[in-house]
Assembly symmetry: D2
Homo-oligomer: 364 residues x 4
């Protein structure tokens, strides 16, 4: 299968370029009988949508999704679900001047070399605009996971440049435009972003995502471990350069006696593992973190090259996010939801005889 | 496809338990005409093999691989390649006492819950013994990549607990039992490991892997980006809790003007990206890092639970590696090789009209 | 991967119901640089389109396809291609009376049992309306195959009920509304169809499809043989009950000395094999035949059952084709094109070192 | 995925050449808890085994299968199952004289062209010897299907050249070396085969396969319909040139009023459809037929070509079956079992909320 699909039993396939006619996706394998309307997806789409605060790009897209198939009389039918978002605010002329330019840190050079040509308008297929469809598909997965298993998935911005959250208050996340869980840092964030915008530069970020209520048993060792598939899905988000499960890179300097999560009939005593043991969910919360690089679309000039092999200077003037980590929050949730949904279905396929949603050896 | 296969066009499928009759794999999609003998795989198998130094487990396995098919008169034929390693030093009785025990930090509990039963001997399928087959399959990929494209893949232990390499001397890696690239730290490592063994504890590690000579253009956005598939493959190695590409988590506090790799007709000025832009190889070295957790098989006692739901104390007495990061070095190379090989073939499928191995717009 | 996709390297995924908002598909893996406009697909869509002659259903759909992505400045870019056809002439009320009825010979009962519900309007997802997207995707494959390898694919109606073609004149096929290759039988066909419509009944048919210019070497034994994948694709067309390659069922009573195609440096002396040996194309024309059942949507009353488990009589009054074999002609071409395209790309992936398009040992 | 695997959730991957060291396979996705020993597979292996009667090849292979993994204490564990059969009676020298010869009707020419080389010994990978592994894997599927759903799968030789069964007595099938269901024709068959062997020629055959007890609901439209996947699996058996479901090619001359299977609360009145409607099992018996070509390995001389592009005469002297259809009987059962097993698991993945094994709207 070529690279525009993710999943084995819950399969999401996307299409669409930043400045094309429309973006869309097909969800294949959604169980029948799920109540679904456009509104179920619109909330997350709105969270990802550009133009909602002064901290994100000024491009304005209503991002209204339409369900084209797979839903009848308000319920999924088990057949493939077609979703579509028309592109409205395209402003293609913004980009004509970079037609032959390879912007440093962007995919211009690699797309050109791979395919021998590219849609240069706004990054074409390499633009994060495509992630709107992931958010839409993820909303379907989130709804099912919540309804059937009580799974809740929440992501948040855990660090923006030098400013890290010291507390995590899930209530706080939706209360501020940064999706930041530590209210005491909001002023610092605001100051930092103002300065950043003035300088024309951008900044990296760390996003964390947590799923609670995940049944024990999801994950297909040895290659399609749950953590491996989460890593695949999260690293596949634009601008991600690192993925951690549980303690992540902190384990490098941990001892076995510190790291291992002791267990008893009362449950696990800690969650260094991030909810996954041997590639299979343990019933604890799934915890993952991702590192988002600073966008390369900045107004600080930089040396580059053009398609004629000549030196060229690049100054990006379009509408861009100074910190792409912010809008990545709903995308991270969506990707985790898609992976969990896929693994739930994969697990069922093989283990219906086993009662998969209830641990066999229960913890109290 | 179920979880014991990796790859789309170069597919590796493994089987085998730690203390079963044998472990093996099938490689499907290897190009014909590659000269291949058991010796090509044995070198890497020996590097991964247990019992080679006092820093690794005392289990002794010759790990002699046999080619059962797919090779005729010394060359691959393009048909599926069957590989087999018989298990010899199994000592199953070592494990009978943990039959009903869920060792903390291990996959015992999750396998039991997922499948309703498990082969408890030495971890069964969840044991890292299975990775011997990945090393064998990876050796085939490495050979082809080197022969046809001059790709070289080298991994090394970049950090063991508190001791990090300060210099990277590729010549040094194979000169010491730690695969450590900084000779000035070897005494410290030796001291550290002696102390660790005495304490009965284990320690985490960081492994780095670098591929040079990778042609520009590998990677299939948007989901099967090269970095996403590398993350999948590396996170799928036992005990890995984090994966970084290029600067990894350092990007969280980088500015766009620092991070982006400027380019000119002379080439790239830096490699913060780790050789991948927009999910596609840029022609620069591919650089990845993984975090290996400390093994949970330690002789420090720990509270746990048994299959009857009762409290139980666990003390591991078997033969185990105090730092699984050491033997992960050849495994990381193998997994990167398998991913690159798969993507090379995937790229060719779609882009034969484009001359994929030579950049269209050359850098000098 | 769930069931709405076909192919491994050239992947077509469809969505859409007979009376939904729209039908559509995503083509993933199309090589870049192929000149493509809507017009390239429209010709085949028009051949499949309902309402074009008195021998097919009276439903009128303009079936105008829109390219939503993957094409830039008139050429494919190598990214996923989104295609969409809006449904216009839906007349859903025609179907409300069969909401709870399981029409014999239809998928009503099995969809209801499988999914617990169904879109009953015009057969929903089980309607052949979905095949319009296959025809559109197939047109892309046909164009590439013709341009790059000179492959030509032609299907025709070889038999309609008792009337079989005795000669095959490829020029004739597009000259009559039956896609029939034997002009001497056109009057009989017309008479037969008039009588059939009067009786309110329907009739089966045989469709043949031939591809010339197919390079030697396509097909991936042992399971994804070219013939096996052709059988999968053709049996997957609505109403198909049988697939033959080459001599097909005639081989049951053939001797080896009759059947085997002798070969010499001048070429093959015959083509009983239908262009495939050992699951791999031989360079001869690929020849396949399919059996199309008579549609079950007829006005002859028939006993059936409803969703309440009661006896019910069924009389279909909607707009239907008396012989679905006629409109299956462009669909069969499309499916063969999709399979050949996929196998061309799969072959390239593994065998770029081998010059795949020219036989190594040439026949003159 | 390359071509040596079949299935999505129950995946069988095979390796091995006719005269290599061994043949083997990996079954991935088998549910845990199935009681399994070598004996479960040996019965079907013995039915397929060469050298068991004077009507089949004289090659003698004990075909003793070994389970290498995935089974612990007599039960499957849910992990990948490795199976191995060593080749013993190889006699490679029989084949040295055909090293450079392209035998007509064989895969010699196409393998050589596809891969640039081939293992010519006994046909190498293209030999039907590989099907032993399919029979072994199929036996696992058959056991599970029978145990959990009461599914029974039986194939038989329905026609050998001009001699067709007129009655089908399932008891009779295992009583004669032809797997023929009509005892009244056994003498004719014996006479026919004697004459055939004398003439040095071979003959085609028709094999039929029936599965009873298949739950309603299996099949994944629109591309992975149950009939499409059965066609793929059966056409993928060596020498098969045609596949029919239910009435197959007879539908070409049927009317809708004859073909459609009327239904009532008492059940279906007939089974022209062969147990599949809209690509989904209906709960009726699944019925399929395949056409097996006469083997091309005959002692009747035939003109061919060699690897040097010269004319060459071919006379096959090795040990071969005069009618490959006979030994195809257990292979057809195995392939149908593998497809049904895969679809059972695929159906469960998506439809656990629906009670898949019991029809929602019951027939009495």
């Amino acid at each position: 299968m070529s690279g525009n699909s993710i999943g084995q039993n819950f399969v999401v396939t996307t299409f669409g370029e930043s400045h094309g006619v429309a973006i869309g996706c097909i969800i294949d394998g959604c169980p029948p009988g799920v109540e679904l309307t456009e509104a179920d997806m619109q909330h997350d789409l709105d969270r990802r949508r550009p133009g909602t605060s002064r901290y994100t790009t000024a491009r304005r897209e209503p991002d209204e999704v339409r369900i084209l198939s797979g839903v009848f009389e308000g319920q999924t039918t088990g057949t493939s679900i077609g979703l579509l978002i028309e592109n409205t605010d395209q402003r293609s002329k913004d980009y004509s001047n970079i037609k032959d330019l390879f912007r440093p840190g962007h995919a211009d050079y690699t797309y050109q070399q791979k395919y021998g040509q590219r849609d240069y308008r706004g990054g074409g297929r390499s633009s994060a605009r495509e992630t709107a469809m992931r958010v839409a598909a993820g909303a379907v997965a989130k709804k099912y996971l919540k309804q059937v298993h009580g799974v809740e998935i929440h992501a948040y911005l855990s660090q923006l440049g030098p400013i890290a959250a010291e507390t995590v208050d899930f209530e706080q996340i939706e209360q501020n435009p940064f999706f930041f869980p530590d209210a005491s840092k909001l002023d610092s964030l605001d100051d930092y972003m103002r300065e950043l915008k003035k300088s024309g530069d951008s900044i990296g970020a760390k996003v964390s995502v947590v799923a609670t209520g995940v049944p024990v048993g999801l994950g297909e060792p040895v290659f399609d471990r749950l953590d491996a598939d989460i890593a695949h899905a999260l690293m596949g988000i634009n601008a991600v350069k690192g993925v951690e499960i549980g303690d992540g890179f902190e384990v490098v300097n941990q001892k076995g006696s510190e790291h291992r999560d002791l267990m008893s009939p009362e449950g696990f005593a800690s969650n260094h593992a991030g909810g996954i043991l041997g590639g299979i969910s343990s019933g604890q919360p799934i915890v993952a973190h991702i590192a988002m690089k600073p966008t390369s679309s900045i107004s600080v000039p930089g040396e580059s090259m053009n398609a004629q092999g000549e030196v060229a200077e690049v100054v990006t003037k379009g509408r861009h996010d100074p910190c792409v980590g912010i809008r990545a929050v709903p995308i991270a949730e969506a990707m985790l939801a898609i992976v969990l949904m896929d693994h739930l279905l994969r697990h069922r396929a093989q283990n219906m005889d086993v009662n998969s949603s209830t641990p066999i050896i229960g913890m109290r």
